[in-house]
Symmetry: C2
Subunit: 288 residues, 2 copies
Amino acid sequence: MEQLKTEILTGDCLEVLKNHPDNSFHLIVTSPPYADSRNNTYGGIKPDNYVKWFMPRAKEFLRVLRDDGTFILNIKEKAVNGERHTYVLQLILEMRLHGWLWTEEFVWHKKNCYPGKWPNRFRDAWERCLQFNKSKNFNMYQQEVMEPVGEWAKSRLKNLSATDKIRNNSNVGSGFGKNVSNWLNRDKAYPTNVLHFATECNNKTHSAVFPKALPRWFIKLFTKEHDWVLDPFAGSGTTCEAAQEMNRNSVGIEILAEYCDLAKEKTSKSQNRLLNNHSSVSGIGGLF
Amino acid sequence: MEQLKTEILTGDCLEVLKNHPDNSFHLIVTSPPYADSRNNTYGGIKPDNYVKWFMPRAKEFLRVLRDDGTFILNIKEKAVNGERHTYVLQLILEMRLHGWLWTEEFVWHKKNCYPGKWPNRFRDAWERCLQFNKSKNFNMYQQEVMEPVGEWAKSRLKNLSATDKIRNNSNVGSGFGKNVSNWLNRDKAYPTNVLHFATECNNKTHSAVFPKALPRWFIKLFTKEHDWVLDPFAGSGTTCEAAQEMNRNSVGIEILAEYCDLAKEKTSKSQNRLLNNHSSVSGIGGLF
DNA sequence: GTTCCGCATGAATCGATAG
DNA sequence: ACTATCGATTCATGCGGAA
């Protein structure tokens, strides 16, 4: 079997991605720098300039993403002048004009969001995970993220009611009665578009990143083993770490050298285990 | 004390509201007909025409809302052609151009969302509750919606790191650090902008578009007793019923006569109960 | 009286079929 | 080709009758 690769590249993804071929990634999942934060990088993007700053990068993402791939964008607008800023809304509209399909908007419910109090708003306990695609026929492996059903099912499934059977079989004689058998052994259900993940607030080195569970969930849902995952704003490398643990190849791009070091350290730890048996792994030229 | 009023008016709110004076409502909370649904009323609004249909009504809402009032709009875009439609995003942008402030976006998490399975998406378990205001200085009674502190919150506060506390104090010198220490001894906490309400979908009581708990929450948060609440798309009168139970005056407008009858029945029942007890409907030591 | 358990229902969405 | 209708899919909730 092929050697798994995890690459951390330093630089602005707008430039770095130019070295990557078209249609090469199955999934892009990222949490870009929010407007007005990370002032020392990317020139400190102001909310009003966010769309303009993001779009050329989105164009590169569109190019390197496979036609059956998915782009997950974790983002949330900040409150400016007492209002929610509109740059995320405008970004969605703009991306659609440039060929992206806005397939879905997942809500990441942050169960343990930061405490605080303001006179005119409550704590912000959710972020958007926007799903974009290049085509309607994208890969989705729903069974990989099924969850245990609620308590109600235990009693419910003891006896299937007559109406359940009636409703399932309905009138048309076309289909098999397969639903009933599915239900009888069912202990898992498909999730919804609301995700409940706690933030990892004890992370001292790199705050404000998403918890590893978040990229892990989307990697499970949209890729198979040995597929290629890209995080163009890799930060401390959470996405690449998750990808590596799940036997996916990945590329992480990060403009800040210190974060790159962190990311490399994270991902090389696991790789060292591999390296005991094999030869070199990372190496920029060897990827494509 | 003044007699409490609950009015159900039949007609299109665009017309009916013309008879109402400026600056008369403290809160507008409503769930308008979603695009492509309720085909027999309002001409069956197509997604592409939604903003155009909504805006003249939004203009009336702006007029009748008090300067310190709030407009809560419960809405969710549908999936069209494999994509989320953008009419809600465009509506937000358009309303801002016409004088509304987009203060906040609450997420209503529907724990018991509609079942189903599709190859390209999961069940939709959330809707938007968009908060609009006329001014930054709107009324908000946060203490009225405080919730019991869950176990997770207790552990979260225990684990506040030293740097967390330092940052709290330094950021907003006026009250933030103080509030954190207050939290430690509280058994109640302020909620977040994610609301968890199950839909009321059983057949006995006439099912409402949103559960009564939803308007109730916003009425508590944004009005005092005897304030005026408006629901311009009243449906079966859930908002007015909630308002009445909480000693708020309310006006509900609904275009469908049959829904109006339902709404009148709901709200007259409670009034009869109160009237039978004689004395002022809104007596302080009365129902609540 | 409690608790348990059966069960209809819902702002849904897709794909196939019909006009 | 484009639009309208229809069937299939599926999960959590609260009511009400039963134990």
